[in-house]
């Protein structure tokens, strides 16, 4: 298998001017969205080698994350080691794989340097949150400075947070200007716009915020910081991927999607991949257009794959920690 980082993105979204008529009349029926989300995983399933492959693919798409107040350089190094060698050798052998890494490692800006050093030569990109993560309630110039700092430290991807108040107030110009400025500050680094959908509450707000973020030049749209009361859910994700489909229909640019927060199991990993394949297609099963923001999900996937290889149910303590 080729190193994941060499999977090149399609042409990067340059953004467009703010066009509120792309979203101000949007209709999203909540129960219908919930019904579709609930039946995605009852309509589709993967078994045996297919399930194993889909779980391996999920690993390829994981942004292995640590975003905690007690993060240390050593903790980040350990995480990077797991990102470079996410499965134990016997499992890799059993699956017939020789190389596998996660999609990226995601850390706070002050940990970027440590991560970049640890990952040097691996081809694994370093992602950094920025812009006053998770609340985003810092002066704009400081938030932009934080982006520049993280990029300067070696971040390949920046996960920014939006000002939720702009969405709740319907102040689309302010939201657009903010995200456009962040995109400019990112430079060559890819920008993932975190919408913090748990704070936006309504699915129509989620659609509108998604569309403004893409118009302002986001490369990815991302559900959550992991710190809101409700993080990634399938109905919210459904609305976001439909928004990015609509943006693609209008502009021709492919936008990536990253659910984050609250996804802990291998089952979740399959559910979100089914969503991507059904609503968008196989292109969105690759790390250049799809990431899973998760920290503990990898451990469950490894246990499932261990079981696939050995036929015995696995114990976590036999797998290396992230």
């Amino acid at each position: 298998m080729r190193p994941e980082a060499s999977l090149t993105n399609s042409d990067r979204n340059p953004g467009v001017s703010l066009q509120t008529d792309w979203f101000d009349q949007v209709a999203v029926n909540t129960q219908a969205a919930e019904r579709r989300a609930a039946t995605l995983t009852t309509r589709r399933t993967v078994k045996k080698a297919y399930q194993a492959a889909w779980l391996v693919n999920a690993i390829r798409c994981i942004d292995l994350t640590t975003l905690a107040g007690d993060d240390t350089v050593d903790r980040v190094r350990r995480l990077c080691a797991k990102a470079m060698r996410p499965l134990a050798d016997p499992i890799m052998a059993g699956l017939g794989l020789d190389r596998l890494t996660t999609g990226a490692v995601c850390v706070y800006p002050t940990m970027v340097a440590a991560a970049a050093k640890a990952l040097r030569g691996s081809g694994i990109p370093v992602a950094s949150v920025a812009t006053g993560f998770p609340a985003g309630l810092m002066p704009l110039d400081l938030r932009l400075a934080e982006i520049r700092f993280a990029v300067d430290q070696g971040a390949d991807e920046i996960d920014i947070v939006i000002t939720r108040a702009h969405v709740l107030d319907g102040n689309w110009t302010a939201l657009y200007d903010e995200v456009a400025a962040m995109r400019e500050a990112c430079g060559a680094a890819h920008m993932k716009a975190i919408l913090a959908t748990g704070d936006l509450k309504t699915l129509r707000n989620v659609y509108k915020a998604s569309m403004v973020a893409m118009q302002a030049g986001a490369d990815f749209i991302k559900t959550s910081t992991g710190k809101e009361g409700v993080n990634a859910t399938l109905p919210v994700s459904l609305v976001m991927v439909r928004a990015l489909r609509d943006y693609g229909d209008r502009t021709g640019y492919k936008i990536g999607f990253k659910p984050a927060g609250g996804m802990k199991s291998a089952k979740d990993a399959l559910a979100w991949q089914i969503l991507m394949k059904e609503e968008l297609g196989n292109d969105w099963l690759r790390p250049d257009l799809f990431r899973l923001g998760a920290s503990s999900m990898l451990a469950d996937i490894e246990r499932q794959l261990d079981h696939h290889v050995t036929g015995r149910y696995a114990a976590s303590f036999r797998h290396s920690l992230a």
Partner: protein, 785 residues
């Protein structure tokens, strides 16, 4: 099996077959099945094969029920019925609860068996059919428990003959058996010959729980067995299936004074407004016409889309179609399985070919169909005119039509441009618009922003040629219960109506001013088309002349009734006011009416007038109180059960109690918002024709109540045959009742035919009249932000 590395390139789903060893083992062990009669399986008789439509494999041999088999089953049911009905409701509830529990404990067995026999995807049998079956038995265990309290004075009908289709074999069985048993009936059920196996497994479950013998009897066989069941000595026939067979059953049961419910075909509209969540609506199509291979009577098969969003909608629908997985029904990732059999597949192919030949464009999923088995690629038609065969005829396959509309009015017009009226689905984020359309569409079930949602707690059933009767909820229970029958009152024959002059004796003194009565059509007196009048005689003496109405007068009266559109939309309060006013005006002329009745030799004339006034008060009182319910169904869903007027009703009145009988029938009908064409007592029509001036002065809008005098059965026949009359009541002779039921099959109008009764007593009024004057529409409104 490809390697993990290879799969990582394709990211295919791969096969995910549901194991079927338990079920195939059971089939192998049984080999062939007899009928389940009186608690035991009979020895297999002359048999036919039940085939897996996905593979062509023979699953089992099943017996072809003979007339003798049916008779034995009915006899067993008859013997068991009194004991079953006599059980306390709690005891029947325990049995139904046990059935619900056992269905759940055998859920996967039943789901796999259903999929093998029918071809539907395992996802559907597992997640939809079988859970709904269990839900139905639980729900009706509840009705059994509460029967006496909730339906005081009501009792079982007796033995119910039940004939079910092949599209939801076990679910339709549950819809039939659960309410019947809850009400204290026993049943003889005939499953479809294509899909008898889950019914036989259910029979084994009945035996497993120890259900008393004879309560449930299952006789397998084809249409001949069904016909034998219809002919048998049963007290009710409940049928779900095609409109064509429904018509034949209506004819075969005519005049037998038995209960009949029919749940027939449909061509249900699926209306998408510009402000709808289009993705939700596209997904709705998947759950509508691409559900169960489109073999769903209530499937939204006519997609109507607002012109402004039609392009986007079609594009998304096409994209969604491309994602459907068609193939092995046992595969857990299959969306569309096998068509039930080769005959049905041929029918679908034929209709689709005709549709294309008539100019419609077919868009079909580009899928590789399995090499063997009955499969059809799902799709939809565009460029399809309303006159195209596929717009009118139920395809009963996974193919919808897509048509555009410009305005809400046009959407309603297109939605109602069908002889069916089973269901409708309405998509709009504007609740005012959605409910407005829900009210206007002619359908028994309306889903707002959803489709094919079912629950045992709500009524299901159609308008128009989709049949009559409801299944589920309180309204469904009513169709398995009956109040004690009113005692029939004999009445004299009206005799031949004589149009020739009828010479009497020359009178002495001054001539009274001649009174002329004509017909009452559209709020005005009209001369009878025939130009004839007939003599109204009392004790051989002519007391006046009445118009001799004919079929053209009926035609005109029905047209006038249809023109009275405002009445059905008036508030209950408005209608009550008119009825009170009518009572007031009748009261002012009470002496005159009493004298007229006395002159005609009617017994107790003053009492009849007083009761007539009281009847107007009673139905005025009911006009704004006989209302619907909100059913407890799904989470975050307001399920409204609304009694709606039929529209135009025909009523043939008894000869007895010429004023009271007439008003006892006409008033509840108009109180509920119907417009009526009534045939008053032929022997004494003057009691009704004297009402013209009362009606005129009571603010009753013209056309609401039309009166055509003349030969009752001749006029009733024209009304019964009229395709634009939605319901018909007939009070009179057995021959007349049989005639009305037979002649009503053209548009399958709802009929109520009964012998004369004591109009002065408690049988003369009540809720039954209002229930018979309305049909229940269930509107499902999901909510949630």
């Amino acid at each position: 099996m490809p390697t993990v590395t290879e799969i990582l390139e394709t990211m295919d789903y791969g096969p995910a077959p549901e194991a079927n060893g338990e079920v195939t083992g059971w089939l192998k062990e049984r080999g062939s099945f007899g009928h389940y009669i009186d608690g035991t399986f009979t020895k297999a008789g002359k048999s036919f094969e039940s085939v897996n439509p996905a593979t062509g494999e023979v699953l089992a041999k099943v017996s072809q029920g003979t007339t003798a088999d049916v008779a034995a089953a009915v006899k067993a049911a008859r013997a068991a019925q009194p004991g079953w009905a006599k059980l306390p409701g709690h005891e029947r509830a325990k049995w139904l609860y046990a059935l619900a529990r056992h269905v759940q404990k055998r859920e996967r067995f039943l789901a796999v068996l259903e999929t093998l026999d029918n071809g539907k995807p395992i996802r559907e049998s597992r997640d939809i059919d079988v859970p709904l079956v269990a839900r139905h038995f639980y729900h009706h265990a509840g009705w059994a428990e509460m029967l006496e309290e909730e339906f005081p004075g009501q009792g079982a009908l007796g033995v119910c003959g039940q004939i079910i289709p092949w599209n939801f074999p076990l679910l339709m069985l549950a819809w039939k058996i659960a309410p019947a048993l809850a009400a204290g009936n026993t049943v003889v059920l005939k499953p479809a010959e294509q899909t008898p196996l889950t019914a036989l497994a259910f029979a084994e479950i009945c035996a497993e729980v120890g259900l008393p013998k004879g309560v449930v009897n299952i006789v397998t066989g084809d249409g001949a067995t069904g016909a034998a069941l219809v002919e048998a000595e049963v007290d009710k026939i409940a049928f779900t299936g095609s409109t064509e067979i429904g018509r034949a059953i209506r004819k075969a049961t005519a005049g037998r004074d038995m209960k009949l419910t029919l749940e027939l075909g449909g061509k249900s509209p699926f209306v998408v407004f510009a402000d709808a969540d289009l993705d939700a609506a596209v997904e709705g199509v998947v759950d509508a016409i691409w559900f169960n291979q489109g073999q769903v009577c209530c499937a939204g098969s006519r997609i109507l889309v607002a012109e402004t969003v039609a392009g986007t909608f079609q594009k998304r629908l096409t994209a969604r179609l491309a994602k459907l997985r068609v193939g092995d029904p046992l595969d857990k990732s299959t969306d569309v399985g096998a068509i039930v059999d080769a005959t049905q597949l041929a029918r679908i192919r034929d209709l689709v070919a005709q549709g294309e030949a008539q100019g419609a464009t077919l868009h079909q999923a580009e899928v590789q169909l399995p090499a063997k088995g009955c499969f059809f690629a799902p799709g939809f038609f565009t460029n399809v005119a309303p006159a195209n065969v596929v717009s009118e005829v139920e395809i009963f396959g996974p193919v919808a039509t897509l048509t555009t509309f410009r305005t809400p009015d046009e959407a309603v017009e297109l939605a109602n441009n069908t002889r069916y009226g089973l269901a409708a689905s309405i998509w709009s984020e504007n609740i005012s618009l959605a409910l407005d359309i829900a009210a206007k569409v002619k359908a028994g079930v309306v889903w707002v922003n959803s489709t094919n949602v079912f629950d045992a707690g709500a009524g299901f059933g159609g308008y128009r040629e989709s049949g009559f009767g409801r299944e589920g909820g309180r309204e469904g229970m009513r169709d398995y219960l009956s109040a004690p029958r009113p005692k029939a009152q004999p009445e004299a024959e009206a005799g031949r109506l004589d149009a020739a002059p009828h010479p009497g004796t020359p009178s002495k003194g001054a001539a009274p001013i001649d009174r002329t009565v004509k017909l009452y059509i559209g709020g005005a007196q009209k001369r009878p088309d025939s130009g004839y009048s007939y003599a109204v005689l009392a004790k051989g003496r002519e007391i006046g002349l009445a118009g001799l109405g004919n079929r053209k007068d009926i035609r005109n009266a029905v047209e006038a009734a249809h023109a009275a559109k405002g009445w059905g939309k008036a508030t209950g309060h408005n209608r009550a006011q008119v009825l009170y006013y009518l009572a007031e005006n009748l009261s002012a002329r009470a002496a005159e009416f009493a004298a007229r009745l006395k002159e005609a030799g009617v017994p107790k004339p003053a009492e009849e007038v007083a009761l007539s006034i009281r009847r107007a008060f009673y139905y005025a009182a009911q006009a704004d109180k006989f209302d619907g319910a909100v059913h407890a169904t799904k989470t975050a869903n307001v399920t409204l059960a609304m009694p709606e007027p039929f529209g135009v009703m025909g009523i043939a009145c008894p000869d007895a109690a010429p004023l009271l009988g007439f008003l006892s029938l006409a008033l509840p009908a108009i109180a509920m918002g119907n417009a009526v064409v009534a045939i008053p007592a032929p022997s004494m029509p003057l009691a009704a024709t004297d009402l013209y001036q009362v009606l005129d002065t009571s603010d009753l809008p013209g056309g609401t109540l039309n009166i055509v005098t003349g030969a009752k059965d001749e006029l009733a026949k024209t009304l019964a045959q009229h395709d634009d009359v939605a319901a018909m009541w007939y009070c009179g002779s057995p021959e007349g009742r049989a005639m009305v039921e037979t002649e009503s099959t053209g548009n399958l109008k709802s009929t109520w035919c009964f012998p004369n009764r004591d109009w002065h007593g408690p049988d003369g009024q009540g809720r039954e009249f209002l229930l018979r004057a309305t049909q229940t529409k269930n509107i499902w409104v999901p909510y949630g932000e």
